[in-house]
Symmetry: C2
Subunit: 204 residues, 2 copies
DNA sequence: TTGCTAAGCGGACCGACGGTCCGTAAGGTC
DNA sequence: GACCTTACGGACCGTCGGTCCGCTTAGCAA
């Protein structure tokens, strides 16, 4: 009976790591390329990554888990950047909210097919997905500090709803709206929600 | 000989009509009862309605068509009522928008499981579904008449996004928000969006 | 009532997909 | 190199949306 090695985390075997990365890259590429998430099957991803199907499910549990992992890997650098910027002192809350939503929108525009896949794979509520919770919590915290916002929790939900992946896809890919046009429309909308008053130098 | 109904359009055979109604009723009941739309299969609906599966697809084309038909049958009276009310003269545009969204939200709360089913059956964009177009167009028209709204089209999308079925479901069924609490949160949000500055001078 | 016709019915059947299982391969360690 | 643990991979399974086609029956006319 071997004494239990005190490994706080088990190290990942070399082939496992290689495969994990291959799968994430393949999935990302396939979702980015196809307009409808439904047309990307788990078999497709496995084949594109050059691994067996069992490997997918062993590592990621199920389809939703795989998509979540892809998103996490894309989102992590962004999250770090957001956290850093937010820790700056003298960052006006109002501007913080505007920047946060613009960042989120830009991310969703760039990864809209992937994000659409996430929305309909989160059987059947995107609101359970981990990354949504992070966006909501971060936005709510920022809204908390903006004077005149009565219900930061609901407001955060409402604002995030305005940039849901399928709406973004609809406006850009079907209604031919330009990314920048969408960004400024969103900025105007957010400004309305935060109250007609422009950034006041009184509080910070 | 019984006077024949005018046959300007092809009359529906008696058994066909009976079956159509049975299917719509069965589908409505099943979706209302189950929390996850995915757990209601076409076979379930056929069985509950006491018809064969072929009948479903013959009449409604596919799953999305069936769900759309159920929604249409639920929505029609509401649409008529909305149209009537909106034709009243002296109906302040601002109030019109508030009422419209409250009506839509109430409808979605009452039929939230059905509406959730619609959202994920509209492979994969709810924005193509006919009923969304109607809500958007109606709301946009009302927003057009509210002074101070810069982009009625996008604003209509953003406001409708705030009452998407899965968000409503999340807030009520998982976050334990009360329907009335949600309605007033929405009303406050809409008021913010319409601008702190109502037609009359003075900030809200 | 009877006979005719076409609209409608229904369930066996199909292909695709998400997910499982288990015999086999290979990395890590001594 | 021996041994053990971890991971691999693809055959396999159950379910589901959707199709097909032989059978039933409503509706009509004489």
């Amino acid at each position: 009976m071997a004494p239990r090695a005190e490994r706080t985390e088990r190290t990942e075997r070399a082939d496992a790591q290689r495969n994990r990365e291959a799968v994430l890259a393949a999935a990302d590429a396939l979702f980015a390329a196809s307009s409808s998430p439904h047309s990307v099957s788990m078999d497709d991803i496995a084949a594109a990554a050059g691994v067996g199907k069992g490997t997918l499910f062993r590592r990621f549990g199920d389809r939703a888990g795989l998509i979540a992992a892809v998103i996490t890997s894309r989102l992590e650098p962004l999250q770090r950047a957001v956290r850093e910027v937010q820790e700056q002192t003298g960052y006006a809350p109002r501007q913080q909210v505007l920047d946060l939503l613009d960042t989120a929108l830009t991310f969703k525009i760039e990864n809209r097919n992937l994000m659409s896949a996430a929305e309909d794979a989160g059987i059947s509520s995107p609101y359970r997905a981990g990354h949504y919770g992070w966006w909501h919590e971060t936005l709510r915290a920022a809204l908390d500090r903006v004077p005149g916002v009565h219900d930061p929790d609901f407001t955060a939900h409402a604002l995030l709803a305005a940039i849901r992946a399928d709406l973004v896809t609809h406006l850009i890919d079907e209604r031919q709206m330009s990314p920048d046009g969408l960004r400024s429309a969103l900025a105007a909308h957010v400004a309305d929600v935060l109250g007609g008053s422009p950034p006041e130098p009184g509080r910070s």
